[in-house]
C-alpha cells in the first residue's frame, strides 16, 4: 500500500544515511531559512537551491522519479497562489538570460521564483526524510530539549499511524465490497461516520492494550531513553560542504 512506502528509503544504507541526524536536520533547517530569505524576483537563484538536495538524494540512492512524483503531488496549492502574481503584478520588465532576451512582467518572475523556491525546499525536506530514520529525528529533538512528552507523543504517533491506517483501509474495503449503488447523501454520511466511529472505538481498545503492554514491562510513568549519538569525520565534512554551499548562495543573493 502507498502509505507503507513513505519512509521506506530511510531504512536503506548509504553514506548519506549514515550521516549524523543532527547535522542533517540542522543543515535542512538552515537551508530552508536560506530559501525563504532569497530574493523574490530571481528564479535563477531559487533554482540553484535544487542542486544540493538533488546531489544528496542521488548519493542516498533515492529514486528521483519517486521524489518528483511526491513534489508534483504537493504542488497545486502553491502553484495557484504563485499564478495569482501574474494577475496582480503586471509591471513590465525585460529579462536578459544569456543569449536570450524577452519582455515579460514582474509577476512572471515572481511566480517562477516562488515555484522554484517551493521545489527547492521540498527537495531539501525530502532529502532529509528519505535518508534519516524517524526515530533518529526524535532522538535529535530530545537532544535539542524539545519537551519529552512531545517526543514520546511523536513516537507513539509514528508507530500507530500505519497500524490504524491499515484498519481504516480494511473498514473502507469492507464497505466498498458491499456497495452496489450510491445511497442518498444523508445515509452515506451516517455510514461514513459509523466507519470513523468504529475506527475510533477500536483505537481506544488498542490504547488500553498498549497501556497494559507498557505496565507489564514495568512502566510506572518514568520514561527512559536508550538513545545515543556519535559524531564522525564524515559529518564534519558534510557540514563543511553544506556551509560552503549555503554561504555561496547567500553571497550570490546579497550581490543583487
Amino acid at each position: 500500500m502507498h502509505h507503507a512506502h513513505i519512509d521506506k528509503f530511510a531504512y536503506q544504507d548509504s553514506p548519506i544515511h549514515r550521516l549524523d541526524a543532527r547535522a542533517k536536520l540542522a543543515v535542512t533547517l538552515i537551508a530552508t531559512l536560506l530559501i525563504v530569505a532569497l530574493p523574490r524576483f530571481s528564479p535563477d537563484l531559487a533554482f540553484y537551491t535544487w542542486l544540493g538536495p538533488f546531489v544528496l538524494l542521488v548519493l542516498g540512492r533515492i529514486p528521483i522519479q519517486f521524489v518528483a512524483k511526491h513534489i508534483l503531488w504537493a504542488l497545486p496549492f502553491i502553484l495557484v497562489l504563485a499564478l495569482t502574481s501574474l494577475w496582480y503584478d503586471r509591471t513590465e520588465t525585460t529579462i536578459l538570460f544569456g543569449p536570450f532576451q524577452w519582455h515579460s512582467t514582474m509577476g512572471w518572475l515572481k511566480c517562477l521564483t516562488l515555484t522554484a523556491k517551493f521545489v527547492g525546499s521540498m527537495l531539501a525536506l525530502t532529502a532529509l526524510i528519505c535518508t534519516t530514520r524517524f526515530s533518529d529525528l526524535l532522538m535529535v529533538l530530545q537532544r535539542w530539549h524539545v519537551p519529552e512528552i512531545l517526543v514520546i507523543q511523536l513516537g507513539f504517533l509514528y508507530r500507530y499511524i500505519f497500524v490504524l491506517i491499515d484498519k481504516a483501509h480494511h473498514t473502507k474495503q469492507a464497505r466498498t465490497l458491499r456497495t452496489l449503488k450510491r445511497l442518498p447523501t444523508k445515509q452515506e454520511l451516517r455510514i461514513g461516520a459509523a466507519m470513523i466511529g468504529s475506527v475510533l472505538v477500536q483505537s481506544l481498545d488498542t490504547s488500553t492494550h498498549i497501556t497494559q503492554a507498557m505496565q507489564a514491562r514495568g512502566f510506572t510513568g518514568q520514561w527512559h531513553s536508550p538513545r545515543q549519538f556519535h559524531i564522525k569525520p564524515a559529518d564534519w565534512l558534510f557540514m563543511a560542504i553544506a556551509t560552503l554551499y549555503i554561504g555561496l548562495l547567500l553571497h550570490l543573493g546579497s550581490m543583487y
Binding site: 531559512l33 503586471r90 454520511l189
Partner: protein
C-alpha cells in the same frame, strides 16, 4: 490549508516559529502535570486515529461528486480536553510536515498555531460555552457544530493574515481572505457534520468514553468566555486592519498600468518601504539583473550594464542543470555495473 515556507518572510517565519515553540512548551508543561500513565498511549493512538479517519472520505451534502474528510481538532479537544488535544494535534501537524511533507519546515510554527493551538483552545472554549452543563442532545450537537465550524474558519483566516504580514504574495489580502473563508465555510460545515455524527455514534456504542468529558471542568466559565472573546477580538482587529491596509496594494497595479500617472513612482516607493520592514528581504529585493523597479516602465536602464549579469544567471542555471544530469548519470552508471552497491 497547510502554510508553505515560501509564502512567509524570514521575520514572520521566525516569529511564528518562536511563538508556536513557546505555546507548545506551555501546553507540554500543562499536560505533563495532569497526565496519568494510561493517557500516554491514548494520546498517541488518538493522534494516529486522525490520520486513519482522514482515509475515509465522506460526500459533501449538496455538492455531488465532491468529498471531504475529518480534520479532528475539535473532536480531540472534546475527547481529551484542550491541553492534551492541542498537544496531540500539534504532533499531527509535525508528522504531516516531516513524513508527508504537508507544509514546510519553517512554516511549522504557523501551522501549529493555525491548525493546533488556536483550534484546540478556541474550539474547546466555544464547545463548553454553548453546552453549558446541559446533557441535551440538540444543544450538544449545536455546540459541536458551531465550535468545529468557527475553529476551521479561524484557522483558515490566519493563513492570509500571516501571508499578508510577510508580503511575499502580490495577491491582495482581501481577495485571499475571502477565498479562504468561502472555501473553508464548506470545509468547516463538513467538519461540523462529521464531528457531530462520529460523536453520536460513539455516544451510542460506548457512552463511557464521553461521560467523563461532560462532568469535568464545569468550572471556569468566565475563563472560557475570556479566551473566546480575546481570540475573537484579536481576529477581528487583525482582519480589519489588514483589510484596510491592503487598499494601496489594490491601487498599485492599476497605477502600474498607467505609468504616465505622476503618483505612480511614490506609490511604488511606499510599497517598497513597507517591504523594507524585513531587513534581510529588502537587502535582496533589488535585482539589476532584470532591470526592474524603481525604473519607470517602458525603457530599460542601459542594456550594456546588465548584459554581463544576464550571462551570469545563464551560466549558473545551465551549469546547475549539467551538474545534476552528470551526478545522476554517473550514479545510474555505477549502480548498473555494481547492482548490489
Amino acid at each position: 490549508m497547510h502554510m508553505a515556507n515560501e509564502l512567509l518572510s524570514v521575520p514572520v517565519a521566525a516569529g511564528t516559529f518562536a511563538a508556536a515553540g513557546i505555546g507548545l512548551g506551555v501546553v507540554c508543561n500543562r499536560v505533563k502535570q495532569t497526565i496519568s500513565t494510561d493517557q500516554l498511549g491514548l494520546m498517541g493512538i488518538l493522534g494516529a486515529f486522525v490520520f486513519a479517519a482522514q482515509m475515509i472520505n465522506l460526500p459533501l451534502p449538496g455538492l455531488p461528486g465532491t468529498s471531504g474528510h475529518l480534520i479532528g481538532a475539535v473532536l480531540l479537544a472534546i475527547l481529551l480536553g484542550p491541553h492534551a488535544g492541542a498537544l496531540v494535534v500539534s504532533s499531527i501537524v509535525m508528522v504531516q510536515c516531516l513524513l508527508f511533507q504537508d507544509g514546510g519546515l519553517l512554516a511549522l510554527g504557523c501551522n501549529i498555531i493555525n491548525m493546533a493551538l488556536v483550534p484546540s483552545y478556541l474550539g474547546f472554549a466555544l464547545y463548553r460555552l454553548i453546552l453549558h452543563q446541559t446533557h441535551d442532545t440538540w444543544r450538544f450537537n449545536l455546540a459541536v457544530m458551531a465550535s468545529a465550524l468557527i475553529t476551521v474558519l479561524a484557522g483558515a483566516i490566519l493563513v492570509p493574515m500571516q501571508t499578508a504580514l510577510s508580503g511575499v504574495l502580490t495577491l491582495p489580502f482581501s481577495t485571499f481572505a475571502w477565498t479562504m473563508l468561502s472555501v473553508h465555510l464548506v470545509i468547516g460545515l463538513m467538519e461540523g457534520i462529521i464531528t457531530v455524527a462520529v460523536l453520536a455514534y460513539v455516544r451510542q456504542i460506548r457512552p463511557d468514553i464521553l461521560s467523563h468529558t461532560s462532568e469535568s471542568s464545569t468550572a471556569g466559565r468566565g475563563k472560557l468566555l475570556l479566551v473566546t472573546l480575546g481570540m475573537v477580538t484579536l481576529f477581528l482587529s487583525a482582519f480589519v486592519s489588514l483589510y484596510a491596509s491592503d487598499r494601496p496594494d489594490g491601487l498599485e497595479w492599476s497605477y502600474a498600468q498607467r505609468p504616465d500617472q505622476p503618483a505612480f513612482e511614490s506609490m511604488v516607493q511606499a510599497h517598497e518601504q513597507a517591504k523594507a520592514l524585513d531587513t534581510l528581504q529588502s537587502k535582496y529585493t533589488l535585482l539589476p539583473d532584470y532591470a526592474r523597479r524603481p525604473v519607470p516602465m517602458g525603457h530599460i536602464n542601459t542594456e550594456d550594464a546588465t548584459v554581463s549579469a544576464g550571462w551570469t544567471s545563464f551560466a549558473g542555471v545551465v551549469g546547475s542543470l549539467v551538474t545534476m544530469a552528470a551526478v545522476w548519470g554517473t550514479a545510474l552508471l555505477i549502480r548498473k555495473k555494481t547492482p548490489n552497491l
